[in-house]
């Protein structure tokens, strides 16, 4: 039961509220005497729409004051029971609730002689408009992406998925930030234990603030500390979220973050995009295999090159081997050192391009890629074939953005392994990586599914893109790939 600490005296209530909020400067209090009753509208600067406040609240109040008929009830009772004012309206009985509503963009009315307030939804804070997806662009799909306002994001999903089974729950997390978290799932498809687990974790979250997806991820991702990959995907695309919700996944959105988490996700999903479902299956399958190849190249190509050149040169044809040999002879460092140096340099450039303003970012790639690369080869620090290898690797890594973080680290591990022990080292690394990925089993869903454990029907959608006729006959559902009970 909520503690009632709103005083009958308006002055006392306003003073208590102000004191509770550390006399914060952004508190706007508009007081007046309407029909003989002192009343105050409290709001937070920049959080409410002043236009709506004037039009929907202050104007009706002024008109009421100007009219000769005095309400039979107390003014606040009259306002809450006999007038519409705003669509979102709630009675509140404590100053804590008042503060919560105020900081969520509500205006709160208090009146002399009543120990409750009336919160009116008049949100009008500045927010970024819905723009095109930047991290997951598509050619033939929706161009909308999530914004920072969770309610806007909810509407973006609801607009696409009008099913009555889609449930959106608003929860709070963060002891100080009191962040709105939206939990979305299809009631008939999402496993109830996954929903319960997420809710439990959220309710037990003791973090002061929840400002990024990363702050909540470790609490629901069981393989978080033990694997380089993550069983929780993140997307800024409402259409992708709808597609995953329809499969029975649970999505979590955090207010202030323009991304939604998909719980759980699969390894194979890193290689599919919404565009695949707009193209014909043959092209989607072709482009998917290009992505698989790119993933392989981005992880293993430099390591493979080092391993083959250093330990198994018989793989190259004589002409190529001689060219490589001549190029490497001219450089002062061992091949493995050269590759690591170049890969680290590439990561520096990528990070610089990412952090700098876009206008300067392109300059970084010109300076880094063209000028330094060319100079490095001409001065004999690195060989030209190696620059080609690094260039291919870098380009391939741009094809699969969802896995770029693990790939950046794994690539270095593979280079070291290839440099130390050739193909033997790479094989050992591959075995460890495979075992590591196979061990990911968040929420009883194998991350390697449908390849391991083998699900022939699901595997079709990994090898090629199923046709819509096939989707008609069998929709992919999370329950199809879940292994028994949660352990």
């Amino acid at each position: 039961m909520e503690k009632n600490d709103i005083s009958l005296s308006l002055q006392e209530t306003l003073s208590d509220l102000s004191k509770m909020l550390s006399d914060t400067a952004e508190l706007n209090i508009t007081s007046a005497v309407i029909c003989g009753t002192p009343i105050a509208a409290v709001s937070v600067e920049g959080m409410v729409s002043t236009e709506q406040l004037g039009e929907l609240v202050l104007r009706p109040l002024s008109e009421l004051s100007a009219s000769k008929t005095k309400p039979e009830k107390h003014l606040l009772d009259h306002l809450t029971e006999n007038m519409f004012l705003t669509a979102d309206r709630q009675k509140i009985y404590s100053l804590d609730s008042a503060a919560e509503f105020l900081f969520s963009g509500f205006a709160v009315l208090f009146a002399q002689g009543r120990c409750y307030g009336c919160a009116l939804g008049l949100q009008g804070f500045e927010k970024r408009p819905v723009t095109a997806a930047e991290s997951e662009p598509t050619l033939m799909c929706s161009q909308e992406s999530f914004t920072e306002a969770v309610r806007v994001n909810m509407s973006l999903v609801r607009r696409r998925l009008k099913s009555k089974k889609l449930k959106m729950e608003l929860l709070k997390a963060g002891e100080r930030s009191d962040t709105d978290i939206c939990l979305m799932y299809m009631t008939d498809r999402a496993p109830s234990d996954i929903v319960k687990r997420i809710k439990d974790e959220l309710s037990h979250l003791e973090l002061d603030t929840v400002l990024t997806v990363g702050s909540f991820q470790p609490f629901i991702d069981d393989s978080y500390p033990s694997s380089v990959f993550s069983a929780i995907a993140v997307s800024e695309r409402p259409d992708l979220i709808c597609s995953r919700l329809n499969e029975g996944r649970v999505c979590v959105m955090i207010d202030g973050v323009p991304f939604a988490m998909i719980v759980p996700s699969l390894f194979a999903e890193n290689f599919s995009t919404m565009d695949d479902y707009s193209s014909k299956p043959y092209y989607s399958a072709f482009i998917r295999w290009i992505r698989y190849l790119s993933f392989f190249l981005s992880v293993a190509f430099p390591g493979l090159y080092v391993a083959l050149a250093d330990f198994h040169p018989e793989v190259f044809t004589l002409k190529l081997l001689l060219n490589l040999s001549v190029a490497e002879e001219a450089t002062p460092y061992p091949l493995v050192a050269e590759v690591i140096m170049l890969m680290i340099f590439f990561e520096i450039m990528r990070e610089a391009g990412l952090r700098l303003p876009k206008s300067v970012g392109s300059a970084v790639s010109i300076v880094g890629g063209l000028i330094i690369g060319d100079a490095a080869v001409k001065s004999g620090i690195v060989s030209a074939p190696l620059l080609i290898v690094v260039g291919i690797t870098a380009t391939a890594s741009f094809v699969t953005p969802p896995v770029e973080q693990p790939v950046a680290v794994l690539r270095l591990v593979f280079i070291l392994a290839g440099g130390c022990a050739g193909l033997y080292g790479l094989a050992v690394c591959f075995a460890v990586l495979t075992a590591n990925i196979c061990a990911m089993n968040d929420f009883s869903v194998s991350y390697m599914s449908p390849a391991a454990p083998l699900d022939a029907s699901g595997l079709k959608d990994v090898i090629y893109r199923k046709t819509y006729r096939e989707y008609e006959s069998s929709h992919t559902k999370l329950s199809d790939i879940r292994e028994g009970t949660h352990e």
Binding site: H312, Y424, A435, S446, P453, E483, G484
Partner: protein, 360 residues
């Protein structure tokens, strides 16, 4: 997650056998044909070796031999635990030693043997620490990789077979002796059937299907592989180290011919999977003897003791005789047939006695 499916267990067992197959063909007989006949006969014998697993599954609701022995007495459980621990030590010792010894033919100049042992065992320990389903899933992926490479090498070598079919002959001083030796060799190389017994409590499905699938596919795989290698390499097949790599280097496809090292990589992965499964089962046995033993410690012990023994033999350059010594086939038969049957008999006897006491 803790349980292993039929296909996954099949993959674990077949990966193990594929490793043996890729390592070498035992050359204790005069020609490959004797070996192929021996494989066929040994497969029929192996059907009987699968019987105890089926009995345990049907009569005792799928228990591993050690925990089943515990139903009879604590002493029997410890005895069984010690016996199987040593069997798995022997298994791991052979796999580790063979792996390092034959790796020399492709990586000798670069890597000290001890370092190879440490690296491969450390990786296998990591896998051995995983749950059975993870070992199963990893094996499944590796098996797919092995199948892909095998199809590639066989496909690319097919046109270069020429008159190689003449290599199938039975010119031998003593055919029956040769076939007998081949049966023994194949039985020893089939220690992987122990996984059937030890993954039984965690198996989702029937051991009958797993063993039938395994024995069938194994027979086809071995016969086809030996056949192709024989066609390609003739009598040389039986003395070639890493016959798949040798076959690749004989390929008419210049791509496959150059990438024989890739087969070595697949072979390395299969070794890791096999060792991982061995360490996992071995740690189960250690825990049966010492119930308080930590999982990690028992897996590390399962790796360290056989690895140390293998390193000792390898550094003294005495491994070749061990690798080609096929007298250990009795261990396979004892561990798969006699001991489980004895344990089952003891447990049944005890159950009958208890029933008699209750009846009295």
């Amino acid at each position: 997650m803790n349980r292993i499916s039929q296909l996954q267990l099949f993959a674990v067992m077949l990966c193990g056998h594929a490793f043996s197959l890729m390592t070498f063909f035992p050359y204790t007989f005069d020609n490959p044909s004797e070996y192929m006949i021996g494989v066929l006969i040994s497969t029929f014998i192996e059907i009987f070796l699968a019987v105890p697993a089926v009995i345990i599954y049907k009569r005792f609701e799928g228990r591993d031999p050690c925990s089943l022995a515990g139903d009879s007495s604590r002493a029997l459980k410890i005895t069984a635990g010690i016996f199987y621990t040593f069997v798995f030590f022997y298994f791991a010792y052979r796999v580790t030693g063979n792996f390092v010894y034959f790796l020399d033919s492709v990586l000798s100049g670069y890597f000290p043997r001890a370092l190879v042992v440490v690296s491969v065992c450390a990786t296998a320990v990591y896998l051995g620490l995983m749950k059975p389903s993870v070992i199963g899933k990893t094996s499944g992926i590796m098996l797919a990789l092995f199948a892909l490479f095998t199809v590639l090498v066989i496909g690319s070598s097919f046109s270069s077979t020429g008159s190689g079919f003449l290599s199938f002959h039975l010119a031998s001083e003593n055919i029956s002796h040769g076939i007998g030796e081949a049966v023994k060799c194949e039985l020893l190389r089939n220690l992987d059937m122990l996984f059937l017994l030890f993954f039984l409590p965690k198996l989702k499905g029937s051991p009958v299907r797993v063993s039938a699938l395994y024995l069938g596919v194994k027979l086809i795989m071995v016969e086809l592989s030996v056949g192709f290698v024989t066609v390609m390499l003739g009598d040389f097949a039986m003395i070639s180290k890493l016959p798949f790599s040798s076959m690749a280097s004989y390929s008419t496809s210049s791509m496959i011919e150059r990438f024989d090292a890739a087969f070595m990589a697949v072979w390395v992965i299969l070794a890791i999977v096999r060792l991982g499964a061995v360490f996992h089962c071995s740690s189960d046995c250690i825990q049966a003897v010492i119930p308080k033993a930590d999982r990690t410690v028992s897996v590390v012990i399962s790796a360290a003791i056989p690895a140390a023994a293998a390193v000792y033999k390898l550094t003294n350059y005495e491994w070749e005789s061990t690798a080609y010594d096929m007298n250990g086939w009795l261990i396979t038969v004892t561990a798969l047939l006699f001991v489980p049957l004895m344990i089952s008999a003891f447990v049944l006897l005890r159950e009958r006695r208890s029933a008699d006491v209750r009846g009295a």
